[in-house]
């Protein structure tokens, strides 16, 4: 992975992102806007599973309202996330926080869908916490040293 990160850092796309100072803050800002759409779409589904909001509306209807927004926001997050990886390959790809975040995103997305299909409440609660974990791990990529030797990142 170190070799891949070093190779990626030499590509024209990577050097372009790294040499234009406005790109990373702009892409990070768009990333956060998309996080708010994704998180609240997932939470509207999970809050409905738990019976906290919109109880007068069926779970199917809630899924129809919010799943497309969750999915669309995840696509924006993937694209903006890839630009951030291009900008600083080693800082992201060698980070323990980065890979645990990626794992939880796959899990959180699958479990949100499953909770929205099955209405199993404990699953809803678990999935709420997985999304919180994803947000924490995203921020911790910048502080990956706290993981000690689990972190391969020099950030």
């Amino acid at each position: 992975m170190t070799a891949f990160a070093n190779w990626l850092a030499q590509t024209p796309a990577s050097t372009w992102v790294a040499s234009h100072e406005w790109v990373i803050p702009t892409v990070q800002s768009i990333h956060i806007v998309a996080i708010s759409i994704a998180l609240v779409s997932a939470y509207m589904i999970l809050f409905r599973v738990l019976g906290w909001v919109g109880a007068d509306q069926s779970l199917d209807e809630t899924m129809r309202r919010f799943w497309p927004w969750l999915f669309g926001a995840l696509v924006v997050l993937l694209v903006t996330g890839l630009v951030m990886v291009l900008g600083e390959p080693a800082r992201e790809l060698l980070a323990f926080s980065f890979w645990s975040k990626m794992t939880l995103i796959v899990l959180g997305t699958l479990l949100t869908w499953l909770a929205g299909r099955t209405a199993v409440k404990p699953l809803g609660v678990l999935t709420l916490f997985i999304w919180i974990g994803i947000i924490f791990l995203g921020r911790l990529i910048a502080y990956d040293h706290i993981w000690g030797s689990w972190s391969g990142s020099k950030a």
Partner: protein, 183 residues
């Protein structure tokens, strides 16, 4: 007491010192701040997009408002408290940062926008509650709200890129996650 002295007093508080001297406290606050702001902006977007006729058009506006208002205020409280705690660790620098000032100005404008909405379109909500789109005053408030909140997110990120985080003069404690796990 002038403003610089007040800012210095904030920076010297025990809480500010504790945050600066901890390896984990500031990242923890940042993470909670992102969590809170994502819930606030997402909740506001759900309602704004409903009023613009973009999403949830089958559901009455008042129902959509109740769905999000119940928890959005708690999320705003979390965002405000974590933001204030980050501010006091380096109050003098943040206070003079142009992006911080713009962000605070935009937050005030977002508040004023809600106040104007309350005395205009909100008064006649029963007449357009089930319409696919709000009347002009409602759509204007929703558009202004979306633009302001997206800009607030951009300003917040730029504060992070134009200020240097202050850490304690003491070296950071050599503790990391592994020390907490059984060998």
């Amino acid at each position: 007491m002038n403003i610089d002295a007040a800012l210095a007093t904030l920076e010297a508080t025990r809480v500010a010192n504790a945050i600066r001297n901890s390896l984990y406290f500031f990242p923890f606050l940042e993470s909670l701040h992102v969590l809170g702001l994502a819930m606030v902006v997402g909740a506001i977007a759900v309602l704004d997009l409903r009023m613009l006729g973009v999403a949830s058009v089958q559901r009455p506006v008042a129902r959509v408002a109740i769905d999000v208002e119940t928890w959005a205020w708690w999320a705003f409280g979390l965002t405000f408290v974590t933001g204030a705690l980050m501010f006091i660790t380096n109050a003098g620098v943040y206070y003079h940062n142009i992006f911080f000032r713009l962000k605070m100005g935009m937050l005030a404008l977002a508040g004023a926008n809600v106040a104007v909405f309350e005395v205009t379109a909100r008064r006649t909500l029963q007449q357009w509650n089930t319409d696919a789109r709000a009347p002009f005053a409602g759509r204007a408030a929703a558009t202004i709200s979306l633009v302001l909140w997206i800009a607030i997110i951009f300003m917040g990120r730029w504060i992070g890129f134009t200020t240097t985080r202050v850490t304690g003069s003491k070296p950071a404690p050599g503790v990391n996650i592994e020390d907490l796990l059984p060998k």
